[in-house]
Amino acid sequence: MPEELLKGFWRENPVFVQALGMCPTLAVTNSAINALVMGLATTVVLIASGAVISTIRQRIPKQARIATFILIIATFVTCVDYGIQALDLRLHAALGAFISLIVVNCLILGRMETFASKRPFLPTLFDGLGMGGGFTLALLCLGSLREILGAGTLFGIQLLPAAFEPWVVMLLPSGGFFVLALWVMVFNRLRQPNPTGVAETRGAI
């Protein structure tokens, strides 16, 4: 069971290894708080829809499974959307359309198809927690670095001295790619401590 939980953080990290859910990863990580809320919202949807689909998996007709998954995922996304609006409208405005777009996040549909629809309830729960946690961690990595370099703040708290001139490019879409590349580099370096070792191809293809 701990394997189901931990693989999402490290060996099969959805962003850094599987390169899934790139659209929200690049789009909403211009501040740490946006990244955190987006990650948590995705995690909630992942766990909740995984739990439901795993429970009713024997009753879902095979030829209509994708449609059923989307229906269930969309329901939880709508609920999360209302929840965030009730929590803080400014936050909801900052995340814009990306909350609704969790519906088509390939990470979620992918986990439903490859895991939740085939496994019992408990492993699915751990899988959702791990994958969601890994996704949140990755988004937070991107969001905090982009906010620190692009605005000199972290979670809105001034971190760098006023003399630091913010690199606005880090908040723009191109900055998302730079920071993503940087983190993927760091992550792969840590995962493969022997980069000179030949012919050890791992990762997402």
């Binding site: 211009n30 007709p61 269930i72 609006q85 009730a86 723009l172």
Partner: protein
């Protein structure tokens, strides 16, 4: 193949359960979302009308003031503790760089100046266009901006200030990297002229509302 559950009943069942769940969550959160909206609007009004204590929403129909709920009002009048009119908060919307910017102008109909500016909702580029809500020079130049009327247009249309030259009272300090967003706000100011004229025409009525309140609370200022 034989034990496959049939498609239609399953889909209908799932869809009904989903619909029920969404309706339930909507019911549970609707009140809080409504309260958040009202709170956000109140904060924005307090921001554009410094020193305001009481708010009243108004609409203008057939050249007369009618009361309206603050979230549906054409404009919101703000009064201070003594009941004197501080100014009017006027919502406006205009197309920005990515999407519609919704904003709120504070307007003092007596001195014919803006008292403040707040962004209610925008999707401008983070770090560039989003600065219309934070850039200190831009916001300072909007505060006290001259919006004197000449009929139904501004006597001096708001424009961007020229760099290095002295800024006229109707000129706005633009934001580097946010040309489109700055221009959009300036355009919105010029577009509000007819609304400002309509509000100014109601100035006696707006003030008298305040006088009634002032007499009831203070009794001075006969």
């Amino acid at each position: 193949m034989s034990r496959q559950p049939s498609v239609l009943p399953t889909m209908v069942g799932v869809a009904m359960a989903c619909g029920f769940a969404i309706a339930l969550v909507f019911q549970a959160t609707a009140g809080q979302i409504e309260r958040n909206r009202a709170e956000l609007l109140e904060q924005a009004v307090a921001e554009v009308l410094p020193g305001v204590a009481n708010l009243r929403g108004y609409a203008i129909a057939d050249n007369a003031l009618t009361d309206a709920a603050t979230d549906q009002a054409q404009f919101i009048a703000g009064y201070d503790q003594t009941g004197a009119l501080v100014g009017v908060a006027l919502p406006a919307r205009i197309m920005g760089y990515q999407d519609t910017i919704r904003m709120l102008f504070g307007y003092d109909p007596v001195s014919e100046r803006l008292t403040g500016f707040a962004v209610l909702d925008s999707r401008e580029t983070p770090g560039l266009g989003s600065k219309i809500d934070t850039d200190p020079d831009f916001l300072a130049s909007l505060k006290g901006l001259d919006v004197q009327l000449a009929g139904h247009t501004l006597a001096n249309e708001a424009t961007l200030a020229t760099w290095g030259a002295e800024r006229a009272p109707w000129q706005v300090d633009g934001i580097t990297g946010a040309t489109v967003s700055s221009h959009a706000v300036i355009q919105a100011i010029n577009d509000t002229a007819p609304a400002l004229a309509a509000i100014r025409a109601q100035l006696p009525a707006l003030k008298s509302t305040s006088k009634v309140r002032a007499e009831s609370t203070e009794g001075k200022d006969a």
